[in-house]
């Protein structure tokens, strides 16, 4: 699978072994089951698993509000989303999710220190100008932060670059000339930045490009197409 769906010119060929593995898993039902659990996208579900009932949650770049709608309904959180795209704000309004329109690159001014239990940023950090600033802001207004991002060191991306082309895949669906992503970093790079900013990574979760959860023992920097980190201060 993948070649046709992904289109474009990159990640053209999967190895025979990889394809056989995928077919075995498809038959066992795992591949189809995981991403559909509870109707939430697999990465959002992984984030939701970390949220405790009744928490105060801030979701940065909340998109259409799917995660917050789920968290409000299933975990009774007091949740707010921040989104700058008008159409996404309207989608949130339609589903009754609290949404505050704001440009994240301008920080989280106006929010009190430590007001939120958890500040989430799902697949948006790579599109931020002020990467360091927003990470610091997340841990200023929140006790814990959760950040998910595409891992540019995923082995298929490495292969793609070795073959001379920028990676295009489901986790990096854009071409180099139209991608909204402006920061290209890896799991290992992120670890280094956290050390620099005195941020502790409490926990990692990784997923391959089919949305399958990797084991904590796996080398996420090599095997994860998408990585999720739970962060805090010492």
């Amino acid at each position: 699978m993948g070649e046709q769906r992904r289109g474009g010119c990159a990640v053209r060929d999967h190895s025979e072994r990889e394809r056989r593995e995928w077919e075995v898993e498809k038959e066992s039902g795992e591949a189809a089951e995981e991403p559909l659990r509870a109707g939430l996208r697999f990465d959002l579900q992984a984030i939701a698993d970390w949220v405790l009932p009744g928490e105060r949650v801030l979701d940065l770049g909340c998109g259409d509000g799917a995660l917050l709608a789920y968290l409000t309904q299933e975990k009774g959180v007091v949740g707010y989303g921040i989104e700058n795209d008008l159409n996404k704000v309207i989608a949130c309004l339609e589903r009754g999710v609290n949404v505050i329109q704001s440009d994240l690159d301008r920080g989280l001014a106006g929010f009190e220190d430590g007001f939120f239990d958890r500040v989430i940023m799902s697949q948006a950090l790579q599109a931020m100008h002020n990467t360091q600033g927003i990470l610091q802001e997340m841990l200023r207004v929140g006790r814990e932060a959760v950040v998910s991002f595409p891992n540019f060191a995923f082995w298929k991306h490495r292969k793609s670059v070795l073959e001379g082309r920028m990676p295009v895949s489901e986790s990096l669906p854009h071409q180099w000339f139209n991608t909204p992503n402006i920061r290209f970093f890896t799991v290992a790079d992120f670890v280094t930045l956290c050390e620099l900013l005195d941020i502790v990574v409490f926990e990692w979760r990784g997923f391959d490009d089919e949305g399958r959860a990797l084991s904590p023992a796996d080398d996420l920097n090599f095997l994860a197409a998408l990585a999720i980190a739970r962060l805090g201060r010492r």
């Binding site: 105060r56 007091v78 707010y80 008008l86 704000v89 309207i90 949130c92 309004l93 339609e94 589903r95 009754g96 999710v97 609290n98 949404v99 505050i100 329109q101 704001s102 106006g110 929010f111 009190e112 007001f115």
Partner: protein, 374 residues
């Protein structure tokens, strides 16, 4: 325009014989409110929406009068079948506030104790007093709870105040182009407007009715000042620029620039129908509004008792009540754990934007109100 007009409407009048005790301590022994309604109140009486007017607005929110078809409601683009505030779903009420000059008891009304117009003796009214009077109208109409209270500018202050004064009587608040309190600059503009009125020789200390005159020059000036604050610098530049009325300067103090012509026209038109005392009272109500004051300035604490869900909207070029002021409201609501959404609309029209038809603005209100259960 998306949607249809509500069509021909007829104002109604409600008489209140029970005294209204005002925040100032003064008492209105009896009063009348004129109002209009659009749409149908459902059997459960759960679909009522109150629209609160701003400085120059009235109960005539939408539609037109059979005998005066050109007199279209001030928010006709917003209220009607298929419009953002859809009268096929909601029963909408517009009411002229106490102290107004469109038929509700105000300074022009006869004071029963003297048999003369109230004039200077009309008591000061506040946003809270208006909300109290509106709640009594709701009582009489059998409306225990509003699905939503909506207002822009000063109307937005009333909407916010509803959530604080009657937490269990309003489910949603739409506060548009408003502020939690006036800034010193806002009050300064109001003061200049008031001085313009009060220094007019025809003002007679507020009792001009007695002399058969109105402080027309003062009211006109007040409106001209107001208009400057309703428009953005961009909008003024775009609409008028430095365009000369006669194509060349004439070295006179008559109208030379188009902007002067516009302001004079707006001021003159306004001074023909608006009451100067109502203008004074209303600007003071604006000045006094500050729900956080009794909580040591802590707006989040002031909102603590609210139970409504809020939708706050601002406009990018509004410098009278700028987006910063709306974000203060939003931050306070978040910090008191209230349900709130916020949107800043990109608009070039300044404070006036809230009255105009803007696709993003209307789409957002429509989306929010779609989610309001009745």
């Amino acid at each position: 325009m998306v949607g249809r007009s509500v069509g021909v409407v007829t104002p109604q009048r409600m008489v209140f014989e029970e005294p209204l005790v005002l925040r100032s301590g003064a008492v209105l022994p009896r009063y009348e409110l004129v109002y209009e309604t659009y749409g149908e109140l459902n059997a459960a009486k759960s679909n009522a929406v109150l629209v609160c007017h701003a400085l120059s607005g009235s109960h005539h929110v939408a539609g037109y009068y059979a005998d005066d078809p050109r007199n279209v409601g001030w928010w006709d683009n917003f209220v009607g079948p298929g419009k953002p505030l859809d009268t096929r779903k909601f029963f909408v009420i517009g009411v002229n506030n106490v102290g107004g000059c469109f038929g509700s008891t105000g300074p022009r009304s006869i004071d029963p104790t003297t048999g003369e117009p109230y004039g200077s003796r009309f008591p000061f009214v506040t946003v809270e007093d208006w909300v109290e009077a509106q709640a009594r109208l709701a009582d009489r109409l059998g409306i225990a709870e509003f699905a939503a209270v909506i207002g822009g500018s000063l109307g937005g202050m009333q909407a916010l105040s509803w959530a604080l004064q009657f937490p269990d009587r309003v489910r949603h608040v739409l506060a548009i182009a408003t502020t939690p309190k006036l800034s010193a600059q806002n009050i300064a503009f109001n003061e200049v407007a008031r001085q313009a009125i009060m220094s007019d020789p025809d003002f007679h200390g507020g009792d001009y009715y007695r002399y058969g005159v109105v402080p027309k020059r003062g009211l006109m000036l007040a409106r001209m000042i107001g208009h400057i604050t309703y428009l953005s610098d961009d909008a003024m530049a775009e609409k008028f620029g430095r365009t000369l009325k006669y194509g060349e300067v004439r070295f006179s103090y008559d109208v030379e620039f188009e902007i002067e012509s516009y302001l004079r026209y707006q001021g003159e038109k306004f001074s023909r129908y608006f009451d100067a005392n109502t203008y004074l009272l209303t600007t003071r109500a604006l000045d006094y509004f500050d729900p956080a004051a009794e909580y040591g300035g802590d707006l989040a604490q002031a909102f603590a008792r609210a139970e409504a869900e809020f939708f706050v909207l601002s406009f990018s070029t509004d410098w009278r009540f700028s987006p910063v002021r709306s974000r203060e409201i939003v931050a306070a609501l978040v910090h008191s754990e209230k349900r709130v959404s916020y949107l800043e609309i990109e608009s070039r029209a300044g404070h006036d934007s809230f009255l105009l038809e803007h696709p993003h603005y209307h789409a957002a209100v429509r989306a929010y109100l779609n989610g309001v259960r009745v």
